[in-house]
């Protein structure tokens, strides 16, 4: 009997492996601390990272606050109970403390990122993308650091920034997402381990895409990364994050915080291709993705643009938002969210208009297949002083099959009569006519769905940097494999 079961498992693995090709585990020496969460754990994390005192204080304040909080229940999600004391809050691949060259990087680690299609080789200048690679709790390697440093750009892991630029972190950390913000952001504020830090000085246009690649490897660990990006006056940066995780039967928690600060005339473009392990076809396993992302257009004429392609995770809960404080500032949110099998997503944005003549644009494309549940939740708020604010929202839902669901929860609060808020929403199904038309030209049903879905999502995919748009297109197609017929 046991033999049969394991054979069944093998077949199942093969089938699911095809769908999620990043499901492997790297066999590497990992330093773990004991599971559970208390002040000692927080002190250990902070000590391991040799953090300045203000950082430990921040963490402890957040933790004390978190203990008074309850998990929010307002989302359109079914979230199984999470036992926070069963999670390991720090895991780090063991390696030499300081790397002088890439050759010193653990070959197993290097090959992991190669398998994921991420080149950590400084020589690979052709790709023109600087990468910060984060595995489990720590940043493994940041490429192109010296090239960027010549322009005064700081791009490094969060831990490193704490050592080398503590003043910048002290000045900006928690200014957009305070440690009291929400349950998951507060948890992150107390236990975050690493992430990326980026500072673009005045008048500098960052010449290459900056990218962070997040990888969960160790079992039973949570990943809590923290990203902070500051674009000083008249600067520009385009930043991309990608993420994957091994396939495991247990759910794993990922609770990140991203803060963006755009000063006068600065522009930040932030793109995400989220492909955490979504769980198997029966909804077993997968990442719980509870993320708080928010940017502030602090100075006049500044701009923040969020683009996200969300295909992974068992549960996604995230609302990348913009606080439009500067006059004439612009906020954008472009999103494609796919839920297949038993995946659930509750995602959207908040656009808070404070400055005069501020503009925001929301384009959300939900795609539901299998038993997937997909919700758009968005707030457009025009405050009293926001003269002549403009918002346009377009929320479309595409359904494949009749067992999935799409939901839209738009909220509007307009306190200034000069504001104009527009909202358009559509729900459609992929037509059998469209699929047959493709079939008749020699295109299989799976490929037809890929074509149609990519066409539907094109407005969002067009916002991605070229290199990633192609990847994202493939990902959309793979995520929906087996969803029809």
């Amino acid at each position: 009997m046991k033999g049969m079961d394991s054979e069944k498992d093998n077949i199942l693995n093969e089938v699911t492996q095809n769908d999620y090709k990043y499901g492997f585990v790297t066999d590497i020496n990992t330093e773990l601390i004991d599971k559970g969460l208390n002040e000692d754990v927080i002190r250990i994390i902070s000590a391991k990272k040799n953090e300045p005192d203000f950082m430990l204080e921040f963490r402890l304040k957040a933790f004390r606050h978190w203990q008074t909080m309850k998990m929010p229940g307002w989302s359109h999600l079914k979230i199984p109970k999470i036992t926070y004391q069963d999670i390991i809050y720090y895991a780090a691949p063991k390696q030499k403390p300081v790397l002088n060259s890439l050759d010193e990087l653990d070959p197993e680690l290097k090959s992991t990122f190669e398998k994921l299609g991420i080149s950590l080789d400084e020589q690979m200048r052709l790709s023109g993308i600087a990468v910060d690679a984060v595995m489990d709790s720590v940043s493994v390697k940041t490429t192109f650091k010296s090239t960027l440093a010549e322009l005064g750009i700081i791009f490094c892991s969060f831990s490193e920034a704490l050592q080398e630029h503590p003043d910048l972190i002290k000045k900006y950390l928690g200014t957009v997402v305070p440690y009291t913000d929400n349950y998951f952001a507060t948890l992150n504020s107390s236990v975050f381990s690493d992430g990326s830090f980026c500072y673009i000085p005045k008048g500098v246009r960052c010449p290459m895409e900056l990218s962070t690649y997040f990888r969960i490897n160790a079992a039973n660990t949570g990943q809590f990364e923290r990203t902070l990006i500051i674009a000083d006056e008249d600067s520009y940066v385009s930043y991309l994050e990608g993420c994957t995780a091994p396939m495991r039967d247990e759910n794993q928690l990922h609770a990140a915080v991203v803060e963006l600060i755009a000063h006068e005339n600065a522009e930040i473009k932030y793109s995400t291709v989220q492909n955490w392990y979504p769980g198997d076809k029966n909804g077993k396993g997968g990442i719980f993705n509870f993320v708080t992302k928010r940017g502030i257009c602090k100075g006049d004429n500044s701009k923040i643009s969020w683009t996200q392609v969300e295909t992974g995770s068992a549960i996604t809960w995230k609302y990348p938002s913009c606080i439009l404080k500067g006059n004439n500032s612009v906020g954008e949110f472009y999103s494609v969210a796919v839920t297949n099998n038993y995946q659930q997503a509750d995602t959207g944005t908040k656009m808070i208009h404070i400055g005069k003549n501020t503009k925001s644009r929301i384009v959300s494309k939900g795609i539901s297949a299998g038993f997937g549940q997909n919700s758009y939740r968005g707030l457009v708020k025009i405050t009293k002083g926001a003269e002549n604010a403009r918002n346009f929202s377009q929320c479309d839902s595409l359904l494949l099959g009749d067992k999935c669901g799409a939901h839209t929860f738009p909220y509007m609060e307009v306190e200034n009569q000069t504001g104009i808020v527009e909202h358009e929403a559509t729900t459609s199904k992929i037509g059998e006519d469209q699929i047959f038309y493709c079939n008749q030209r020699g295109i299989s049903t799976e490929d037809a769905i890929g074509l149609i879905v990519n066409g539907y999502a094109r407005e969002v995919l067009n916002q991605l940097p070229m290199e990633f748009a192609v990847e994202a297109q493939k990902l959309l197609q793979v995520s929906l494999e087996g969803s029809v017929g």
């Binding site: 047959f436 038309y437 079939n439 030209r441 020699g442 490929d447 074509l451 999502a457 094109r458 407005e459």
Partner: protein, 250 residues
């Protein structure tokens, strides 16, 4: 090339095709005419593999292979092309991307490598000229916002790109003005050769002035009730279908 024997098909338990027999050889042009509701478009859909129809009996051989056993995409790859009466719109999917996917799927089926980008664009330009379809149409999403005439021209352009052995044109002439009709008909004529065959489904004689058929069949009540040469089309144009109905019901 195509041999249909006693083909019967139903939709929602209603019999639409009641025993079709038809043989089409390479190099031939066949016209299928008949009053509304006689089963002309159903025949086209059944041959292309639309699954809303149930085949209750019969056999269809296409180049010696059992057509009814094949998936719709394999029928296409084997060289069967259907020009749709009502081509659907696929928003956001560029015509270039769509037809390149189709062409490369056909090549893969034949064991050929995908066409290089420049070769593909060259092929597209040539075929565009051949069927007189403006290049701005191929830069847009598949059929999106196309006029009726543009949609039909686009069907013939796709036919030119895929070079089918058998093309079934389902009322390709309907809704076209005289100029568009001429362009579409000229395109089809240029694509015609001794190795391929064309089946025209039409209500009117006027298309047949441009594309002269070798055979004209009258489909009535799910059966081919009369077959003759091109002169039959003229006769139908003159007298309508009533005389045929009377002849059968006698």
């Amino acid at each position: 090339m195509l041999s249909i024997k006693n083909l019967k098909a139903t939709v929602n338990n209603k019999e639409i095709l009641r025993g079709i027999n038809l043989k089409v050889e390479a190099g031939e042009v066949h016209a299928i005419m008949g009053p509304n509701g006689s089963g002309k478009s159903t025949l086209a859909s059944v041959l292309a593999g639309r699954d809303v129809f149930q085949i209750s009996s019969g056999e269809v051989l296409f180049n010696g292979k059992n057509l009814l056993d094949m998936s719709p995409e394999d029928r296409s790859r084997e060289g069967l092309f259907l020009s749709f009466q009502y081509p659907v719109e696929i928003p956001g999917v560029s015509m270039v991307n769509f037809i390149r996917t189709a062409v490369n799927e056909h090549r893969k089926y034949k064991g050929l490598k995908p066409l290089a980008g420049s070769d593909f664009l060259k092929m597209m330009r040539e075929k565009q000229e051949l069927v007189e379809i403006a290049s701005k149409l191929t830069n847009r999403s598949v059929n999106e916002g196309f006029s009726g005439g543009e949609k039909k021209k686009n069907e013939i352009f796709q036919m030119a790109m895929l070079e089918p052995k058998l093309a079934i044109l389902d009322e390709t002439d309907s809704g076209l003005d005289i100029d568009a009709l001429r362009i579409v008909a000229n395109g089809v004529t240029k694509l015609r050769n001794k190795d391929n065959a064309i089946v025209l489904i039409t209500h009117y004689q006027r298309l047949l002035d441009y594309i002269v058929p070798d055979f004209v069949h009258v489909l009535y009540n799910g059966k081919i009730v009369k077959t003759a040469g091109k002169e039959l089309a003229m006769e139908l144009e003159e007298k309508g279908y009533d005389w045929i109905k009377n002849e059968i019901e006698k």
